[in-house]
């Protein structure tokens, strides 16, 4: 298993390849570059359909297969944790279906053929995605989810969604549920694995919290207390104080500097950025630093004792990052973004 994952990790596309992909002149040429890589299904599907979203869906399907395959191969204690990780895809798929329902029913928008891009592969629970898209009410969606852990969450949030005319409370609740499950599953692991899982989930929670704070600030203009109420406990590096300070003040980089200087000196150059006047810019900077921290933690895991859950987590994180990059580039190519803009978001 270890060797298998390490082989897969060694096949993760290098930065140079991503740069070449960004540099290619058209979407068709970018996609063609993937033909000789593990992303060949993207090329195959695109060649067949000309539809980059279909290719993305195929990629996601393959990724889920890998998670499920790993579940089958792992020992009992680790399997539970990986199962929870796999549920991420299920929750994402459910969120996508509910978003379509919301667009069609609440906003009265045409959702056209968007249902075709849903990941319909059953993961751990059987979810009637078409039923959800066509349900009359969110309570109806809850009924369709009966027998899954998501039914209660959807019913509970139904009133808030109607009140706020936004799905955000529901999406937040689903994410909180997922992370709570992850933390819980992590606690069931053996001590060495538990420590590794805590660190990585911790960085992920940090990233998630900072990502939300940016959204709260940008789109919802929530006050600090309201915003912090929605964040998740269990972060590794970003304390509530740091979040409060960063969210509220126009300049508050002391704590982050101290953290990076002490624990991750490799990242100190990231703090030399002068463009930190607005707190949203600061949050974005913290988000970037956290991404780098995650990469560093993964690197540490790969260099450490090989027979831990670290290798599995490293693979999942690196693979998800790789898929995100590739799909961002391809979508950007689809919209004819210039190279510099793509590089900025990568």
């Amino acid at each position: 298993m270890n060797a298998k994952l390490r082989t897969r990790i060694s096949k993760i596309l290098p930065e140079e390849f991503i740069r070449q992909l960004i540099h290619s002149r058209s979407l068709a040429e970018s996609v063609q570059m993937l033909a000789e890589t593990d992303f060949h299904p993207v090329q195959r599907i695109y060649e067949q359909t000309g539809d980059i979203k279909m290719a993305e869906l195929e990629l996601m399907r393959k990724e889920v297969e890998i998670y499920l395959e790993l579940e089958d191969l792992l020992e009992e204690d680790v399997r539970g944790f990986v199962k929870t990780l796999t549920e991420r895809f299920e929750i994402e798929s459910l969120k996508n279906a509910i978003r379509l329902w919301f667009d069609a029913k609440i906003r009265g928008r045409s959702i056209e053929n968007a249902g075709g891009y849903l990941l319909r592969r059953p993961i751990h629970h059987s979810i009637d995605l078409d039923g959800i898209i066509n349900a009359d009410t969110l309570e109806g969606v809850g009924d369709l989810l009966e027998g899954t852990p998501y039914a209660g969450i959807v019913r509970e949030q139904a009133a808030r969604v109607t009140e706020a005319a936004s799905l955000f409370p529901l999406e937040l609740a689903l994410d909180r549920f997922l992370y709570a499950r992850l933390v819980e599953a992590g606690e069931q692991l053996k001590p060495r694995d538990r420590e590794i899982a805590r660190r990585l989930i911790g960085v992920e929670i940090d990233l998630q919290n900072v990502g939300w704070l940016i959204r709260f600030k940008h789109f919802y203009s929530l006050d600090t207390d309201q915003a912090l109420r929605h964040t998740l406990p269990g972060g590794l590096n970003v304390s509530v104080d740091l979040m409060r300070e960063s969210y509220a003040s126009e300049r508050a980089d002391r704590e982050m500097s101290a953290l990076v200087g002490k624990r991750y000196p490799e990242l100190s150059t990231l703090l030399s950025t002068k463009d930190q006047v607005k707190s949203t810019a600061r949050l974005t900077m913290i988000e970037r630093i956290l991404e780098q921290i995650l990469a560093l933690e993964v690197k540490k895991m790969l260099a450490g004792y090989p027979f831990t859950i670290g290798i599995i987590l490293a693979y999942f994180i690196l693979k998800a990052n790789e898929i995100r990059k590739i799909m961002t580039v391809l979508n950007a190519k689809f919209y004819n973004w210039p190279e510099e803009r793509i590089l900025a978001v990568i």
């Binding site: 002149r25 979407l27 359909t49 000309g50 539809d51 959702i111 078409d130 066509n134 009359d136």
Partner: protein, 672 residues
């Protein structure tokens, strides 16, 4: 063949106006492994500047790869490098080439966009199909229409004569239209469309005088017909997508000659620019340097003199004069039939320049090991035939694939020879063994030959291991002498002292075994055999310290360091050689496993035999499956283990894989 090919370095100075002719000649010859003149003579740096090719190599490479991307879209390979001729080299217009490729890319993208539009239609129809599947029949669908946010289901009538044009008018809208019957001159229709198209649909309905009709359940309830209609449309769309896909292929195939021409010229220009990227110049001269096999020196010298009309200066250097000996490139010159084994060597690493090229020895050792582990003439013949057939079928394949297929054929041949020696043919004894009956020995009734039990097989493999290790040691001594590494020759683990201890160990072990595991050689003998070399080894850390430059200051703790180093060295020699030798027992292990598996399959086949005791069809199926399994499984295992023994037990004794492969800039290379 036994040592790497001798190389020589040339430093050439030619006149500035001969640069083009010299570049082309160097390309045509394809002999020079270039090095920068500033790396050859560091002092020359300030006096010369780099030659800047007219077009940057990186830009040409990028466009060449772009063309290869188009070839790959139709699974075509770029033109073979063998077709490149320096006479075809023309000035390259990157801007014009880019424009042509941009136009082609835009055409491809347009077709892909049309494919995408098709895909959108497919998804819409599939959406309709999925929605319909949620209900038992269509009347339910019609009744439940309010539940649908994006399906519009209508029943109504239009004049019969207008049905065809109505269908055409609906063409662009994703729809399912079913004719449910006729009434007078009116056609009764069920129409399913997307709600988002309602405006357009209603305009068409108005135009054709559509009248809503409420139809009874039994008329509407024909879901199969709707599904068939949907399936028909989906198939048409998928065909259209397939057609568009082939359009991309036809487009590129149509442009292939022009693309090939561009590719060839780009490749030539790329190589031309690469050669010149190693040139340095003064105000009127150009200087370059590179390595080539010594035997090719006259060819290169004559060619440069010819194209420059003798206006050149050539200086030749021997590898020992090189500032960095490790920088001398290595050319392994083995006969073609040994190329599969050369591949095994280079996969491990490139041997250091001037040392032994182990390819021929690997060929012998690898095949003996494989034969001993896979000793069955029938199974070997299958591998031989597969290897030869594969080589014929994949003549144009990459050299790696061809070498692998040849290797399979060689292994098959080795197994045939071993099988004849062991009298094994698909696990049966069709002819008497020439050496000993492997099957008989493993199954416990094979007496009479040179080997009577499995211990005998183990002993053979241990002797074989000793021979391989001893050969490795001798090769190491030769390498040390050639490279003048005298300290290594004497004190290294694989040096003379190490060899002495190993020989003593082998003698002692043999003596002990031959005396029923009860008696060791006399103590005086042991002192000479093992004690003396062990004591001599104490000198190693001391000598290394004395000869090391710059020498570290002596401290009082150093003798302790020396002592520790000596102890570790001795432990390493004793345990290392013991493990290395015993490691060869895997050869016997795999051979025994091979025979045991065949015995097991014959036993299973016997269990399935008929009342008369003869084999049934089931027995034969078991035997066929068993043979296939053994060939695949054991063939792979024996191959891997042979490789492992060569890499770790043989190479570790003498092979210094620190060489750099000789890589001249040549037109012969296929693709990078």
């Amino acid at each position: 063949m036994i040592f790497t090919e001798p190389m020589q370095q040339v430093v050439a100075v030619v006149l500035d106006h001969d640069t083009d002719a010299v570049t082309k000649e160097l390309l045509r010859l394809g002999l020079l492994h270039f090095v920068r003149i500033t790396d050859v003579d560091r002092d020359i740096g300030p006096q010369v500047e780099k030659v800047t090719p007219h077009v940057a190599e990186a830009m040409i490479t990028e466009i060449r790869r772009r063309i290869e991307g188009f070839f790959a879209m139709v699974d075509d390979r770029p033109p073979s490098g063998a077709d490149l001729k320096v006479e075809d080299l023309q000035a390259v217009d990157l801007e014009e080439t880019t424009k042509i490729l941009d136009t082609l890319a835009a055409s491809v993208q347009t077709i892909r966009d049309r494919q995408s539009a098709c895909q959108q239609e497919i998804l819409r129809l599939e959406d309709i199909e999925r929605q319909l599947q949620m209900f038992g029949n269509l009347s339910e669908v019609v009744e439940a229409r309010s539940q649908y946010s994006y399906l519009s289901i209508q029943t109504g009538s239009i004049r019969k004569v207008l049905v065809e044009s109505f269908e055409q008018a609906l063409g662009e809208i994703p729809n399912v239209k079913i004719e449910l019957g006729t009434q007078d001159n009116q056609a009764l229709l069920l129409l399913i469309t997307m709600k988002r198209d309602e405006g357009l649909t209603n305009r068409i309905l108005d135009k054709f005088g559509w009248t809503d009709v409420h139809l009874p359940r039994e008329i509407v309830g024909k879901k199969d017909q709707v599904q068939e209609n949907l399936r028909g449309k989906l198939e048409l769309l998928k065909d259209e997508q397939e057609e568009l896909k082939s359009k991309v292929e036809s487009l590129i195939r149509e442009k292939r000659p022009a693309l090939e021409k561009m590719w060839t010229n780009l490749r030539l220009n790329e190589l031309y620019a690469r050669v010149q990227s190693f040139f340095s110049k003064t105000s009127r001269t150009v200087i370059f340097s590179g390595w080539l096999p010594s035997g090719k020196k006259p060819v290169l010298a004559e060619a440069i003199r010819r194209v420059t009309d003798g206006r050149c200066y050539l200086e030749w250097h021997q590898p020992r004069e090189a500032e960095q000996p490790a920088s001398v490139p290595v050319q392994m010159s083995n006969p073609k039939f040994l190329s599969p084994f050369q591949m095994l060597v280079t996969n491990y690493s490139i041997p250091e320049y001037g040392t032994i090229d182990p390819t021929p020895l690997v060929a012998v050792a690898f095949l003996i090991m494989f034969g001993l582990m896979f000793g069955d003439a029938g199974h070997g013949a299958v591998l031989l035939v597969l290897g030869l057939l594969g080589s014929l079928l994949y003549k144009g394949a990459r050299s790696g694939v061809r070498n692998l297929l040849h290797l399979i054929a060689y292994c098959g041949g080795a197994a045939v020879v071993a099988g004849v020696l062991f009298g094994s043919y698909f696990g049966m004894q069709w002819f008497a063994p020439l050496w000993f009956d492997y099957h008989g020995v493993v199954s416990g009734h094979g007496g009479g030959g040179l080997v009577t039990d499995v211990y005998g097989i183990l002993v053979i493999t241990i002797y074989f291991g000793i021979a391989v290790i001893a050969l490795g040691l001798v090769l190491n001594w030769i390498n040390c002498v050639v490279k003048g590494r005298w300290l290594h020759l004497i004190f290294e683990k694989g040096g003379l002292i190490g060899g002495w201890i190993y020989a003593a160990g082998v003698y002692t072990a043999r003596y002990f075994v031959s005396h029923d595991y009860r008696q060791l050689p006399g103590s005086g003998f042991l002192v000479y055999l093992i004690g003396i070399p062990v004591l001599v080894l104490t000198l190693k850390p001391v000598l290394e310290y004395s000869l090391h430059k710059p020498r570290k200051p002596f401290t009082l703790l150093m003798p302790v360091d020396f002592l520790m180093e000596w102890i570790v060295e001795i432990l390493e020699i004793f345990s290392g050689y013991l493990a290395n030798t015993l490691s060869f027992m895997r050869v016997a292990g795999l051979g025994i496993a091979h025979v045991s598996l065949m015995i097991a399959f014959f036993s299973i086949a016997g269990m399935l035999s008929g009342p008369s005791g003869g084999y049934t069809i089931g027995s034969y199926l078991v035997l066929i499956a068993g043979n296939v399994l053994v060939i695949l499984l054991e063939g792979l295992s024996a191959g891997i283990q042979s490789l492992r023994l060569n890499y770790y037990e043989f190479f570790s004794k003498y092979f210094s894989g620190s060489g750099r492969a000789y890589a001249p800039v040549t037109l012969k290379k296929k693709k990078e």
